[in-house]
Symmetry: C2
Subunit: 381 residues, 2 copies
């Protein structure tokens, strides 16, 4: 089997872990935050921006790329890496989450998930096998199994049946992975996804079913989908304790600086979220001083004051708050890019700091120091 | 008087001219195309993009900047140059054109132009004097007089009365210029604007009134506003022949590659237009092979083929048509920036080539070679 071993654990501080993913397109220090490049582009950025930000790994969305530009283009281009001029590692999701959140008239059956495109109403069927095929076309370093992601408030019976289905799909995906070959000349890993809602015994059942097999890594799904925060923390902690120590753990779709730092403390290695990029486009910026609303008139005359004095991003090195506030106020497109550059750099530095703190054995203090400005009632600035 | 001499004429080829503007923020080889930075930002670009494109001079819009961020911010920031992190020369328009095209309930009187903001309906009065004051706050290298820009289809009586009013305003602007001082430590030039519609004798009358005084340069207004193309060419040629040889001539708001190259042949030195940036955001790109619709499905599989094989812009160096088409197709924000980078680079190289051709005495051949692909009926690609 290809790529069964892609992780080196390097240090632990409590349950927090520092390690390294060994992937075809490079090594990735963990904990890692993967910016989301939904449609072969991290919104507003270009390929040089990605390099200069020192992004180590990206996430791509199978659902979107399957619909546009489609698999013919993805195969013809040599995969997502050359297509988007990104040479580092990529993880692709299975598209399942988008089928359930974006697709119309979706129908779930044993075979797979049927849906209509949110773009043109055309009918499609995602199966565990077809989704591996899609990700073969994309050529990601890490592929995800197709799973069902039930809503955070679903009842126990639904969560139970759903995790059983997702586990059967995991094994079908695994077979498709084993029986297919990479299209673009490099091996690809496959992660199963632990489901089971907010129920400890269901999460244990999901892990039992999945971990009967050896996988390169494991994802934790079905969190940050509307459940209560204490439930999310408890389930993350449970998975953190009970998942194999030698495999990377990926908490899907999480999240805020607070959620990420606390999940690292619970043993998670990998994260992705649209939050820093989406919020940036609306002018909500994350800084060492807490959240900043870049549109606020209070910045109008803030000449020569960078957004975040502790930040080394392009935006903070070149512009002051007065200019940034003006750009957001008049809704210039460039504001969205400058905000995105900052927010991603903030997230990446947060992860670099987390890794250093774990290796130095002072992660709890690091977490408290980073989150203090986020726990005040109002934004500092 | 400050800045009476800002132009060196270096070479002529027929009526086409190569020269040099000598401005407080640097020297500008002419012919020059000034990208439009309406609201202290060339849409989608940042300050590094502007430098890397080798832009030599920018245009800013007084109307927009007066409304947002407003004069208090512009004065406090030290002017447009530090505010937008652009160290090269800037020309600002007078805002008159926007008052007539964007302002609501505008009322024209001898004193000036009254209007309501298109943003919030607030009432404002632009006078020749207040518009100099606005441009003093902006700190542009070249300021423009307030003028009335009548529509291209107005009758002769209207055009005549209008040019007389604009000429009186020019003299009031001149006095305000002479009697005021720069706010940001560098001198600022002022250009009057020749009006008179498509009527040769009215254009001559306008020049006679304005050129009774010595100015650093002269603008040609009221063209490219709906008049027939032969009228535009004839009036441009008239001004090209009759304006003082030793002063730079600025044809406002023009235009297409064809309009610009032909106007250079008629003796124009300076241009600005939103066309390359606005079209870029819609996916209409200018190339050495003619206009390209970047959205077209014909590019879907054009791997490893740059948009323009003759172009050295960031976009053409990093992306192929397949990727660019995808980005425009799915309406990624980054497509607008990549298109803008290309179109501006194309325009700037067109001007560099024009200057070199004039100095080499082969401008007519250069013009024909550049425009040939634009004169075919359909886009080449």
């Amino acid at each position: 089997m290809e790529l069964a071993r892609i992780f080196q654990l390097e240090a632990r501080d409590g349950d927090a872990r520092a390690g390294r993913l060994l992937l075809p397109h490079g090594e990735v220090p963990t904990p890692v935050f993967m910016p989301v490049g939904t449609r072969a582009s991290v919104k507003t950025l270009d390929c040089r921006d990605l390099r200069e930000l020192e992004i180590t790994m990206l996430l791509g969305n199978s659902y979107h790329l399957y619909l546009r530009p489609g698999l013919e283009v993805m195969r013809g281009s040599g995969g997502l890496h050359p297509f988007m001029r990104w040479e580092g590692p990529i993880l692709t999701d299975s598209g399942g989450f988008q089928v359930f959140s974006l697709g119309d008239l979706r129908k779930l059956k044993e075979e797979g998930a049927e849906f209509r495109s949110h773009l043109d109403g055309s009918r499609h069927l995602f199966t565990p096998e077809s989704v591996v095929e899609i990700q073969r076309a994309l050529g990601s370093d890490i592929m995800m199994q197709l799973d069902e992601c039930p809503p955070g408030d679903c009842d126990e019976a639904y969560a139970s049946a759903s995790l059983e289905l997702s586990a059967r799909w995991a094994l079908r995906a695994r077979r498709a992975w084993e029986e297919s070959r990479p299209l673009h000349g490099h091996p690809q890993a496959l992660f199963p996804i632990v489901q089971g809602g907010v129920h400890d015994h269901l999460r244990r059942r999901s892990m039992e079913l999945l971990l009967a097999h050896d996988w390169p890594g494991v994802a934790i799904g079905g969190l940050s989908v509307g459940e209560a925060k204490p439930d999310m923390r408890r389930i993350t902690a449970l998975c953190g304790r009970e998942l194999p120590v030698d495999k990377p753990r990926y908490l899907m779709g999480v999240g805020t600086p607070e959620d990420i730092l606390e999940s690292i403390a619970l043993g998670v290695d990998m994260f992705d979220c649209v939050l820093p990029t989406r919020n940036a486009r609306k002018g909500t910026l994350f800084t060492s001083l807490g959240r900043v609303n870049a549109r606020s008139a209070r910045h109008a005359m803030a000449f020569d004051q960078p957004l975040d004095p502790a930040c080394d991003c392009f935006t903070c090195r070149h512009y002051d708050r007065a200019h940034l506030r003006h750009l957001f106020h008049v809704e210039e497109i460039s504001a969205m890019r400058l905000g995105t550059l900052h927010n991603l750099r903030y997230y990446l530095k947060l992860m670099e700091g987390a890794r250093a703190a774990i290796r130095a054995g002072c992660y709890p203090a690091y977490l408290q120091a980073c989150l203090a400005p986020y726990r005040t009632a109002a934004p500092v600035v």
